[in-house]
């Protein structure tokens, strides 16, 4: 029992400490490409501190949903992150809680965020909500399919993340298969769409008419905004962690310190990959996003089929 609590606390600390850094690194890389110096990679932490100190302004037209959403979103994402720990040693719930739970914990947060967008009656937040719902309806099936296929792998045979970690952790290249490669690419597309990054959304835009995720947050301020922002970066880290531990499982069965070091390294590498994708692509036309999502889904389906054909 006591051990479980320690594990939870350690996992929470790792998540909170690393999440804003990932965004900071991506921003820094993008700035360098634009011939800018860019803000420090730790700027995300300062921004959060500043926001937590500031007052909250709430619209007169807002209901309890608006004020409750930041907490619901934060808690649901944080809870989801406990089921996808940084290293296998940090599993604290045993076999309880599988991939379906994680996907739907994320969905709860999103559901409330979309509601809060419509709650204040502001035009931009409402547009953001409708767009976010469209994108998530397109992306969620792919994510489920990818995780199901991984679970179907004979090395795993379960949807629990603990079983998935364990199944792939065997040394060597045993986890690599045609379906694995297809799923990895599909997962990358999913991560980019889910974390509101170019080409699906632009996290740094100032154009209220084109925003998706940012538009939903327009009415938030102070600690509410801080919670929404930190939740978004935790969600991003969570999805990157899935890639790190499921698709690049090297060294996750090593000692705690070594495994943690490797984990941080993998997170940084994937942040770099996301930054490179962002730099080289252009935001899609909103109505082309379904094509992009279809690509992720087709890859996931192909991965699913080939896992039957090749048996893994």
């Amino acid at each position: 029992m006591f051990q479980g609590i320690v594990k939870i606390v350690v996992q929470l600390i790792i998540t909170a400490a690393l999440a804003p850094l990932v965004s900071g690194i991506i921003k820094k890389l993008k700035a360098r490409v634009q011939h800018r110096k860019g803000a420090s990679v730790f700027q995300g932490y300062f921004d959060l501190l500043k926001l937590f100190k500031k007052d909250v302004v709430v619209s007169h037209n807002a209901s309890w949903i608006f004020t409750a959403t930041p907490y619901i979103y934060f808690v649901s994402i944080l809870a989801a992150s406990l089921f996808v720990p940084a290293i296998p040693q940090l599993f604290s719930f045993g076999f309880i809680g599988d991939a379906v739970l994680v996907v739907y914990l994320i969905a709860i947060g999103r559901f409330f965020m979309a509601l809060s967008g419509m709650d204040t009656g502001s035009t931009f937040t409402g547009m953001g909500s409708s767009r976010e719902m469209m994108i998530s309806a397109l992306i969620e099936p792919s994510m489920m399919l990818v995780l199901f296929t991984v679970g179907l792998n004979p090395l795993v045979g379960s949807l629990s993340f603990q079983a998935i970690y364990k199944g792939f952790a065997a040394p060597g290249w045993g986890f690599v298969s045609p379906s694995y490669l297809l799923l990895l690419i599909s997962m990358l597309i999913i991560v980019i769409a889910e974390t509101a990054r170019i080409p699906v959304d632009d996290p740094s835009t100032h154009l209220e008419l084109t925003m998706v995720h940012e538009a939903m947050l327009l009415e938030y301020s102070g600690r509410h905004l801080a919670l929404m922002e930190i939740s978004a970066s935790i969600k991003q880290l969570l999805l990157i962690t899935v890639i790190c531990n499921v698709f690049i499982p090297f060294g996750s069965n090593a000692g705690v310190i070594q495994a943690l070091g490797l984990y941080v390294l993998k997170v940084l590498v994937i942040s770099g990959v996301i930054a490179v994708i962002e730099i080289n692509s252009v935001k899609l036309r909103l109505f082309s996003v379904p094509n992009h999502a279809a690509l992720a889904f087709i890859l996931a389906v192909l991965g699913f089929m080939s896992s039957f054909v090749f048996g893994r």
Binding site: T123, V282, L284
Partner: protein, 528 residues
Amino acid sequence: MMLKLMDSIKEGFCKDIIKTYTVNKNETYIEVSNEAVKRLCMFIYKNIECSLINLFANDEREVNDGFSVYYSFAAKKEGELITVKTTISDTSVIIPSVTLEIPAANLYEREIRDMMGIVFEGHPDMREFVFHENWPWDLHPLQKDFSASRKPPFENRRQDFVRIEGSGVFEIPVGPVHAGIIEPGHFRFSVAGEPVINLEAKLFYVHKGIEKLCEEKHFEKVFFMSERISGDESFSNSLAYCQAIERIAGIYDVPERAAYARTIFCELERLYNHIGDIAGICLDVAYIFANGQFAMMRRWCQMLNEELTGSRFLRSVNFPGGVRREFIKDKEKIVLPAMDRLEKEFSETVDIIKSNAMFIDRVENTGVVSHTLAVELNSVGPAARAAGVHDDARVNFPYAAYDKIKFEVPNHNNGDVNCRMNTKIEEVAQSISIIRQAVELMPSSGGIIEPVESLEPYKHAFGITEAPRGENCHWVMSGENNKIFRYKVRTPSFCNWPVLCHAVKGNIIPDFPLINKSFNLSYSGNDL
């Protein structure tokens, strides 16, 4: 052709014409009675290939007992200006509107209603245009008896937008304060889901009263006002003003060194504007690499401007009669290498963006302006040239040293964001070539200014230049004691705002910023 037209006008309107005269080589004025003005405008518009480039009123009660309304048509291919003038004794006399027949007249007639109080009968939409809901409806600031220092009472009228009704149609109000650091303007979208059914722009939040403030000021002082009409078009605007003043003073050719210097600065202004626009297009589709590149090149251009003139926006370079100082002398070694460096970097970056399929997918077929629309609303500049209107004031009304320099005017036909961007890209290449030629052809000695000493009162002239955003058309009338009696400014932005509103229809909301940026119109230049 002009002679033939004038003959047929004299024949058809012999009873109505009060007098005709030609000044400044290519400006023909036809004074006509109130009843015949609409018929004459229609006759000119139908019989020759021309467009309505300006429509303004002038309070001439001190001079000839009444308000005059001027309809300026430009036969752009011939380089001729025909202005129909009619005088009414009082604002209660009603003039028939020409908007239904000549759509370009729409906003001018509304502007005159607000600023001068002249009502055009039969105009389909006489809502307030320049005025906002807090300005008294019947207080017309451009009338001479209105004092610019007067503070009018606040009113609180209700202002209506065009209402689109139907199930699932929503209105989205955007602005006047925007998320980016841009000028204020309110946009009212009517949408069904994401597609835009109608867009109405409400501007004039930064109305500064430039036309009013210029009246009764010495013409040298008004020059500084003209530089401040629109921040990034300082040079083109001041050049249009200087040309008008020079024509009034009878100077048709400024010293050759000044003419070449003006050409170079015009193109330097075009360079930094166009490159900035392309950077903006890239930023709005989140293409940060290309944005960084073009933003850097824009700064290079502005640094060059600063090195040559001391002003990144080319202020205080012009002066009526020429240019102020020897800005270009012995600077060839700075200008030419800067052009080489810019050309190399620019063409390399353009190659990269044009081979990015995702980027091309965003800009192609977005915000299409049809050829008919561009012609009917008298769209100008790159926006018009992207829609198959092959007009450029540098060719049609050659000024500075453009008649001695070889250059091509790009022409595209699709009228979408891609065409507007390509037009600007090609114009950048042409500007670089023009600057090189001008530096080479510039005579090594000679004067740079032929000062305008004094202005004869009550003479008037047009000043037309091709600003980066398109054709600039200023009209100046001198007053007594070298003062300005009336300064009418029409910037390209005034012509292109309604075109933008039409271009957005049928596109989806998230594409609006991109379409807007491909026009990149000036709010300040429109609001005056």
